[in-house]
């Protein structure tokens, strides 16, 4: 009733005056003001929704200490360790920005889920060993009150790498390094191989290395879910959106060699919402690039690589998406329960899946990217397997029936196929945690901790990942992984 009366009264009362007649009138557009005042009073009155403030619940917060670009296993791992190692509880606000909340193209979910320590670089071995102990004690690390314990479905069946004559020497030296670092790996001759795994055709195989402990495969979705749950309980903000812009401020400084360098610092991240032009500028102190296969785009947004080639400013982040296919096939008389993940010199690998004589496998993408099909290989099935020389005959699969297949991206580092970790020399507050070329899932816990230590302490504390810094792209020093996987 009052609502109906008031506008009338106000309307009549106010409309009788005309703008010019008001003594000492201080505002033009009096009519517009009137309708605004009417609206405000209507909204304050009981019974109407009070929307004086627009709804921003879908937007990320306006300020955040750390923005993690990419919500895959690497990004979540960095966020986890940042919150775990911060000096004061609740001292850091971390925002994780993920473009696709279904993770339909993210490498984590499409991964085969293997973990192994059979690398040639000691850093890689240590990262993998730490990840194994993280996964073993995952219910202590990622415990959330009242949540059920995580079951990673870990199969401790180990990895078996087969080497031909020319790779045998490299494999031997690799195994020596692995044993030194504490991995439990043993070498097997073709005779021992035939004894243990009679279904292997040892023609052309000169040496094999077999991981006995801490190697196998697990469910990556479970790890992702566990990390997400734990992060939400620790107060990390999640946002579904795409990073479209970095607002940077630059500072020109003189090096000791009397050269001018421009140091950039990102102080705002623009996060654009899905299916809309709306974006939120998030003020931040640190940005973590964990965007996986799309890290190069994020780096380009920050101006990395924009400069004359051959200089530090012109060095791009050499990470690109590389597609690889995984096939699941059924073979009734295939290898039994004890089958490890068998990988060959050609990059082809397979493992047992479940108890029903199903196997899954694929081939790691070669250095030179082949023009591949852009869709799932369902139509091409057996043709793909035969044409690309998929299984070089090391294991006899009699009448395999392909059940399903899927494709996923590696965040492939075209420079040396090893990860990029640590800050960029010129964009001082962007930290990388990407480019692991197929090993990201198994090294995520270790890398996350290393990046968190770098941010909080200024240097790597537990595992020294200096060979993985960005500088090597400019200096041309390859941190090559010599093992045959």
């Amino acid at each position: 009733m009052i609502r109906r009366v008031l506008p009338h009264g106000l309307g009549r009362g106010l409309l009788t005056r005309r703008p010019g007649t008001r003594r000492g009138g201080f505002s033009l557009d009096w009519d517009g003001k009137v309708s605004e005042i009417k609206k405000k009073i209507k909204s304050i009155l009981p019974g109407t929704p009070c929307d004086v403030l627009p709804d921003t619940s879908h937007l990320p917060p306006e300020h955040s200490d750390v923005v993690v670009v990419g919500g895959g296993v690497l990004g979540l791992s960095v966020a986890y360790w940042l919150k775990q190692l911060e000096n004061r509880r609740g001292g850091m606000r971390v925002l994780v920005v993920e473009r696709d909340h279904t993770y339909s193209q993210a490498s984590t979910g499409l991964s085969v889920g293997g973990i192994c320590q059979q690398f040639s670089l000691p850093e890689n071995i240590q990262l993998s060993l730490f990840s194994a102990s993280f996964l073993r004690n995952i219910n202590e690390y990622l415990a959330v009150t009242n949540a059920p314990p995580l079951d990673l479905q870990f199969n401790p069946s180990g990895y078996l790498l087969l080497a031909s004559e020319k790779d045998a020497a490299a494999m031997e030296s690799n195994v020596k390094v692995q044993k030194q670092e504490g991995a439990k790996v043993c070498l097997m001759s073709p005779d021992q191989l035939r004894n243990k795994f009679p279904w292997i055709n040892t023609e052309g195989v000169a040496l094999a290395s077999y991981g006995m402990e801490n190697e196998g495969w697990f469910d990556p979705w479970c790890l992702l879910h566990g990390l997400r749950q734990k992060l939400m309980s620790m107060g990390v903000f999640f946002c579904q959106g795409e990073v479209t812009r970095f607002v940077t401020s630059s500072q020109r400084m003189m090096t000791t060699d009397d050269e001018m360098v421009t140091l950039k610092s990102i102080h705002e991240v623009h996060v654009k919402m899905d299916h809309s032009l709306e974006y939120q500028p998030v003020e931040c102190a640190i940005v973590i690039n964990a965007a996986g296969a799309w890290s190069a785009q994020i780096a380009a947004l920050a101006g990395i690589g924009k400069g004359p080639p051959g200089t530090l400013q012109g060095t791009k982040l050499p990470v690109e998406p590389r597609k690889r296919y995984v096939y699941v096939w059924h073979c009734p008389q295939g290898p039994g329960l004890e089958t490890p993940l068998v990988a060959d010199t050609s990059g082809a690998y397979f493992r047992r899946e479940g108890l029903g004589s199903n196997y899954l496998g694929g081939r790691s993408p070669a250095e030179v990217s082949r023009v591949g099909w852009d869709m799932l290989a369902r139509r091409h099935r057996i043709i793909v397997m035969k044409e690309s020389g998929f299984w070089p005959g090391s294991v006899c699969f009699v009448h395999p029936q392909v059940q399903t297949a899927w494709a996923g991206y590696y965040d492939y580092n075209t420079f040396d196929q090893n990860g990029v970790v640590g800050p960029h020399p010129l964009v001082v507050n962007m930290y990388f945690a990407t480019g692991f070329s197929g090993h990201g899932l198994q090294q995520a816990p270790g890398v996350g901790r290393a990046v968190a230590e770098m941010i909080l302490e200024g240097s790597f504390q537990t595992i020294d990942l200096s060979p993985f810094l960005f500088n090597r792209f400019y200096l041309g020093e390859k941190t090559q992984e010599n093992n045959i996987m």
Binding site: R136, F154, P156, S157, M212, E213, G336, L337, E338, L355
Partner: protein
Amino acid sequence: MAAPWVSLRLVAPMWNGTRGIHRLGGAVVPEGNQKKERKMLQFLNNHFYDVEALRGYLLQREMSKVHLKNRFRDKEWIRPDKYGHFSPEFWNFREVPVEAVDASDCEINYEGLDNLLLLKELQSLSLQRCPHVDDWCLSRLYPLADSLQELSLAGCPRVSERGLACLHHLQNLRRLDISDLPAVSNPGLTQILVEEMLPNCQVVGVDWAEGLKLGPEEQPQDTASPVPA
């Protein structure tokens, strides 16, 4: 009336040095040229009480010597007392190889297995109903492959078929007990796969018919429902 022939159970190598009356007992297979002696001895034993008594006395003397050396004295297993403590005499047996460990209902975990894996001559290991033994722990058992012959995992709540897959290292295993494992998704199929994986081993615990559904003619009749016409 002849006294019953005393057959000895102790193994010959225990007292090789002393011979008594031309070797005591029937555990040692006599060689050809001593058969006549043994027959003579047997004949005398059967006919004369004195020979029998003498022989019995010497035998007793040997047995007591052996018993003195035998520190275990009919105690095969070292068990804790009712307070859960082990007796300090245990320290005397430090160099004796351990053949069997019974860790049932024990809270042993992944790190705790460090201690068991040092026992290079372990033949029998029982991890029944251990609450913290899971698949990761089973993947650690391969150093015992040379000696382990019997393994029992009955009732371990965290062991699944994925952990059982890494038991294939234990090729000397003769008896494996995988009954009552709640985390195994498909016990019958797992049993078959484990039997295939370890051909020389007797796998105990799951009836292969478990998990199979009854055929239509074998459906249990429900007495309460009306009999179909």
